[in-house]
């Protein structure tokens, strides 16, 4: 709870720093504040008590997720030092909005009340709608912001409708009460309750970009400033899945909803992996790769077992680390290639900076799920969990799709390791190098020593 308050205050503090125009202080203050938040979370580990009339509960898993989310945000802020160096205005606003968004993410991992779930999603999304339009002179950035805002609002409306219907049946926003109602209804839930859960699931599926609610993701990923794209792909996905799992785990997933989610999982795996094969823009490729990873993560949500949350944490953390590192590499390459975001502009990376290319290779291997990286262990855990839950055919399909996925990650690898006539002039500041190396080392280290939540 104290971490939540500290983070909210940190956002306001950053806005004040912006007023006084001290741009150089912003990133250090933000990083220090977030480190303080991590310390508070660590000291409050297992302080498993409900706060504010049972609105939130920071149990062990919530604390782990919050620390992971904060860690990823710190990595992004370290990258931000260089990324925002050339921007003159609105830098404080960018940091502050990301911190506010993080507050929403904390709520999503720890809610015990549907109202807090709704607020969490809104606090998470509203800053993102703004941040997506952060490059004010760019047409694509404006398009991304507007598209995300409109579609997000529709999803929110359905989501709110779902909460209202569930409230109508259970007469309470409290998840404990909702769980009692779900258990009392057993395998034949009332249509209103089912419809409510269905609408809530739609709202959450939009946030995690599951097919058929994924149409916004490539355009928004491409148009938004790269740092914001990385934030959306990592922090938002992690938080939304934590929220999704909590809801599904507590309400017990009625069969009708489980079948719908299963169909969505298969579609997500298929569309994400197959469409990614045809992408030439790196950011769009990462968008479809993110859709594909949503498919694997939905399998965990479907499995709905007690150990699922640990797998979910491990998967989203490793995916987040690899994605952050890759986006940093992409920005460095983009600068060297005169602003081109095409996969082709990676050509000659190994020639220019061998260590950067090899780290990028590690990160891509992890996303593809090649052994000895964290991505492999994460995917292995997901498949194991899905098999235990009895989804044999879906698991076989998911394995096949994971194999397809290897191809498009290796397109990037091939470009990076092909020599080019014109050497790529990649400039790496020490801090950016540190972020990329940290991500690379973490991906390998987590592969050797996987995290298991107690």
């Amino acid at each position: 709870m104290s971490a939540l308050i500290l983070t909210s205050v940190l956002g306001v503090l950053l806005l004040y720093l912006g007023v006084f125009g001290n741009k150089r202080l912003l990133a250090p203050v933000a990083v220090l504040g977030l480190l303080g938040a991590i310390a508070l979370m660590a000291s409050g580990w297992y302080m498993d008590v409900p706060f504010f009339a049972d609105m939130v509960r920071f149990d062990g898993t919530a604390a782990a997720f919050n620390m992971g989310l904060t860690g990823l945000t710190i990595l992004l802020f370290l990258f931000g030092v260089d990324y925002y160096a050339r921007m003159e205005r609105d830098v404080a606003e960018h940091y502050a909005l990301m911190v506010f968004s993080l507050v929403g993410a904390y709520l999503l991992t720890s809610y015990t009340n549907l109202l807090v779930l709704f607020l969490g999603i809104e606090v998470l999304s509203i800053p993102l709608y703004i941040l997506a339009g952060g490059k004010k002179t760019s047409y694509r950035s404006g398009e991304a912001s507007f598209k995300y805002f409109l579609l997000g609002s529709f999803a929110t409306a359905l989501f709110l409708m779902g909460i209202a219907l569930v409230y109508g049946v259970s007469a309470s926003f409290d998840l404990g009460r909702v769980q009692e109602v779900a258990e009392a209804q057993g395998s034949a839930p009332s249509p209103l309750f089912l419809l409510g859960l269905f609408f809530i699931a739609i709202g959450l599926s939009f946030k995690v970009a599951a097919v058929p609610f994924h149409f916004w993701s490539p355009d928004v990923y491409e148009g938004a400033p790269t740092l914001v794209t990385a934030f959306m792909a990592t922090v938002v996905k992690m938080a939304a899945f934590a929220g999704f799992f909590r809801l599904v785990h507590l309400t017990g997933l009625p069969p009708a909803l489980a079948n719908t989610l299963l169909a969505m999982t298969v579609l997500t795996l298929f569309v994400g992996n197959i469409v990614a094969l045809r992408q030439t823009n790196f950011k769009r490729l990462m968008a479809y790769s993110s859709v594909a990873h949503t498919g694997f993560l939905l399998l965990v949500v479907l499995g709905n077992s007690a150990s699922g949350i640990s797998t979910l944490f491990y998967y989203t953390l490793t995916y987040g680390l690899a994605t952050v590192g890759l986006f940093v590499v992409m920005v460095l390459v983009k600068r060297a290639a005169n602003g081109s975001e095409e996969v082709r502009s990676f050509r000659g990376l190994y020639q220019a900076k061998p260590w950067l290319a090899i780290t990028a290779l590690l990160l891509l291997l992890s996303l593809a799920g090649i052994p000895l990286t964290a991505g492999f262990v994460a995917k292995y855990q997901v498949f194991l969990l899905a098999l235990q839950a009895g989804f044999l055919k879906t698991t076989v399909f998911a394995v096949a799709m994971a194999l397809v996925g290897i191809y498009y990650y290796f397109v990037v690898v091939r470009e990076a390791f092909t020599a080019d006539e014109q050497p790529l002039d990649v400039q790496v500041t020490p801090l950016n190098g540190l972020v990329v190396l940290l991500c690379g080392i973490a991906v390998v280290a987590l592969g050797v020593w996987p995290v298991v939540l107690p």
Partner: protein, 168 residues
């Protein structure tokens, strides 16, 4: 009382239809104001004074007036709705129809929900709304301030004029 309910219900449904069907945006907005007012009437019938007043002040007052201003400033007075292509229209009808079908299928046996609590005449009074807002729902109340702050920051950030558009 029941006659009043049906009167308000009829007004809300009819004006909502006008909102969608009207060609001119100004007519659409005015119909929306009528719709909101009739919904406020429903709240008063349920003795929810606070909700009714807030609804009129915020929706009918602030938001809809802002809407009218925007429409008049942009001079959207004329009916300038572009014609959608046939494919779009067919897709929209099919999608909407499917949603309707799903909803109908879900409720085809009828829904009877026993009210968990009886109707309490004091629920909607300002006093009880304030009580629950500052006791039970204190956290959501406070957290929404973060939401509004970020929305304000965004409005200022996106609305501010760029000094030198070529530089960025």
């Amino acid at each position: 009382m029941l006659t009043l309910f049906y009167l308000f219900a009829a007004i809300s449904v009819l004006s909502a239809l006008v909102v969608v069907a009207a060609r001119s945006p100004v007519n659409s907005v005015i119909a929306l104001i009528v719709c909101f007012l009739s919904i406020a009437g429903h709240y008063i019938l349920l003795n929810a004074q606070f909700l009714a007043v807030v609804h009129i002040i915020v929706y009918t007052g602030a938001i809809m007036v802002l809407f009218l201003f925007v429409i008049m400033l942009l001079n959207l007075n004329k009916a300038t709705e572009p014609q959608k292509s046939l494919a779009t229209r067919v897709a929209a009808v099919v999608t909407g129809g499917l949603v309707l079908l799903t909803l109908l299928a879900a409720v085809r046996h009828g829904i009877s929900v026993e009210p968990a609590n009886g109707f309490d005449i004091g629920t909607g009074l300002v006093r009880s709304v304030g009580r629950s807002l500052f006791n039970e729902f204190l956290l959501p109340f406070e957290v929404s301030s973060v939401l509004f702050l970020s929305a304000m920051v965004g409005a200022v950030m996106l609305g501010r004029r760029e000094k030198n558009p070529q530089a960025a």
